[in-house]
């Protein structure tokens, strides 16, 4: 229905049906479906020899004799009409060269990962809260877990200085000097 008004003046639909085969009711039903969907008045024309043919702007979009006598479904015809109402296929098939809207990413260079410990027994592990949405409370529970299950591990619970996006070089220097490992949380 949406494009009916603009196309009605230009688009001509014709249905030729075989009178002897009593295909007039089929033709009228299809014409009603086309009217309901596109607002187009299909012209009905009597034919012979078993024909049931639909054309749009003088272009045959279905001929049952070319299909072994098979009559089309309404849906099939409505789809073909819809396809022909879209822009000319020559335009849609033309390949366009368009520019890339993305910026330029920086190169990626590896940051060396810290060596791992043989064991945490007797080691000092810093548990650092990065200050986002109650992360300190979760890290406190992590500290409690270490006390209960790995009591030989010394844990130091700290909240970093500044907001979570800011660096805290003093703290990380301290961890480098006094700590053996670091767990940072809670990242979002």
């Amino acid at each position: 229905m949406n494009s009916a008004k603009s196309t009605q003046e230009e688009t001509r639909i014709k249905i030729i049906y075989c009178v002897e085969c009593n295909l007039e009711p089929e033709a009228k039903r299809l014409a009603t479906a086309i009217k309901n969907r596109f607002g187009l008045e299909a012209k009905l024309e009597e034919g012979h020899d078993g024909i049931f043919e639909i054309s749009m702007d003088d272009h045959v979009i279905y001929n049952n004799l070319a299909q072994g006598g098979q009559l089309p479904t309404d849906k099939e015809i409505l789809q073909r009409i819809q396809q022909r109402m879209e822009p000319p296929s020559s335009i849609r098939r033309e390949k366009l060269k368009v520019m890339n809207p993305m910026g330029y990413p920086p190169a990626v260079t590896q940051i060396e990962m810290a060596p791992r410990l043989d064991t945490l027994e007797g080691k000092t592990v810093y548990l650092v809260d990065c200050r986002f949405d109650d992360g300190d409370l979760l890290m406190a529970q992590m500290q409690a877990w270490f006390k209960e299950y790995m009591p030989s591990v010394k844990t130091v619970l700290r909240s970093k200085s500044g907001i979570y996006t800011e660096d805290d070089p003093e703290l990380f220097e301290e961890i480098g000097e006094k700590g053996d490992a670091l767990v940072l949380g809670v990242g979002h």
């Binding site: 366009l96 520019m99 990626v108 791992r116 200050r131 949405d133 877990w145 500044g162 670091l182």
Partner: protein, 427 residues
């Protein structure tokens, strides 16, 4: 090693990869952490990682003690590039491709052919290959670089005209993303001042804040598209984490100030520009809005105080006033300058210190700064819990005049003024 919530799995892994640690050892707990009791958080710790299904603490201990693999030790460096053109295809397929790859705002775009981009570039005297700046979705992400030509490509996609390009380039030059990745779904607001408003037929009257003007609409849309594409994307769960999203982001509330009908100094002049210069100003963190009609004679003070009390104290108020309301403020409070009204707002936007410091956003973003001695927050931290404190530093409160005087409606936008940029410099 680091611990994260599972909602951020994609984002965390992407950041680790682009920062040079693709093998970074991670563990995840369920989202949210905020507001959970100690018992619930202990269950997180003793439970399984929702990403891997493995016990969280076993992963943490293992991450600290398992020797580095050869892969983790292997050095690497690689460059990434962005081709100037997309592989040629049909119009229909290109539209699908741009949408599928998240290059659009899911509204129809103008495909940026070389011819259209060349036409757009006629709007500036700058070299197409001149570097405009760098942008990123948030401060912890990598910054991507972009040229004048790249900005023009996005301006074409937005449906902008060449004469708008200096404004769009000035927005790009702020290097402030209109597509921040924040979970808070922040948008931007853009205010244009000076003669350029007339030259490109911007709207500062009826319907100025949208959607009733081609320049307002497409400049704002271009700002959004250039932000998401030039910063390397704005993809949900990966480079955009806004929990609810924000309709303001479609065109970053882009409008011109009604300088002619304002009783006060134009906004860009307050920021140090001459009146005859053209400038564009960006406000970030736009989410919250309060509104009212007129400034009532008897109880206007209470009405405005109540509106201010309803705003989140982390985001300072920018009063966006129709000229009718601006003049009413002048009449009611003898605010013959913006500065006087701003002082009144500062003095009346108060709440008990204990209530203020308990706000989650204040705890996340202000409290750590107060601890570090940053003023005025450090002094505010000294107040007793029941002491009323001014919650918005005076220099964070702003006033803009816009509207067509069909009535005296006005709004308070909760947002942070970020920067003003010369438009003339990009002509």
């Amino acid at each position: 090693m680091s611990v994260h919530t599972d909602a951020f799995e994609q984002a965390v892994k992407a950041v680790a990869r682009t920062h040079g640690m693709p093998q970074q050892r991670l563990a995840f707990v369920p989202m949210p952490v905020m507001g959970k009791s100690p018992t619930e958080l202990r269950e997180y710790i003793e439970g399984n990682d929702p990403v891997t299904g493995q016990p969280v603490m076993h992963e943490i201990v293992d991450a600290l003690t398992h020797p580095l693999s050869e892969e983790e030790k292997k050095g690497f460096r690689f460059d990434r590039s962005t081709p100037r053109f997309v592989a040629p295809d049909t119009e229909e397929n290109l539209r699908r491709l741009f949408a599928k790859k998240g290059r659009t705002d899911y509204l129809p775009i103008v495909l940026p052919t070389e011819e259209r981009v060349d036409a757009m570039l006629s709007g500036t005297s700058h070299d197409p290959q001149e570097i405009v700046g760098q942008m990123r979705p948030t401060s912890t992400r990598e910054a991507w670089e972009y040229t004048v030509e790249k900005v023009a490509v996005n301006a074409v996609m937005a449906g902008a005209r060449p004469e708008y390009l200096p404004v769009i380039l000035a927005l790009a030059a702020t290097q402030i993303s209109a597509r921040p990745s924040t979970t808070s779904s922040a948008a931007c607001m853009v205010v244009v001042n000076g003669p350029i408003r007339h030259e490109i037929d911007m709207n500062w009257g009826i319907g100025a804040m949208g959607p009733y003007n081609h320049a307002n609409a497409t400049i704002g849309r271009a700002y959004g598209l250039l932000s998401q594409n030039l910063q390397g994307g704005s993809e949900p769960a990966l480079t955009y984490l806004g929990s609810q999203g924000n309709n303001y982001a479609y065109n970053s509330i882009t409008f011109a100030e009604n300088e002619e009908r304002s009783p006060w100094t134009p906004f860009h002049v307050e920021q140090g520009f001459e009146a005859e210069e053209s400038a564009v100003s960006v406000f970030g963190g736009v989410r919250s809005t309060a509104y009212n009609l007129g400034v009532r004679e008897k109880h206007w003070r209470e009405h405005v105080r109540n509106m201010l009390r309803g705003m989140n104290p982390y985001l300072p108020p920018t009063f966006v006033l129709d000229p009718i309301t601006a003049r009413q403020f002048v009449d009611r409070g003898a605010f013959d300058t913006k500065e006087k009204l701003i002082h009144w707002i500062y003095d009346n936007a108060r709440m008990p210190a204990g209530v203020y410091w308990d706000h989650q956003l204040i705890e996340n973003y202000v409290y750590p700064r107060a601890l570090n001695g940053v003023e005025p927050y450090a002094t505010m931290l000294e107040a007793a819990d029941d002491e009323l404190i001014s919650v918005f530093p005076k220099d964070t409160i702003h006033i803009v005049v816009v509207g067509g005087e069909t009535n005296g409606y006005w709004r308070i936008m909760g947002c942070n003024y970020a920067e003003s940029m010369s438009v003339d410099a990009w002509r």
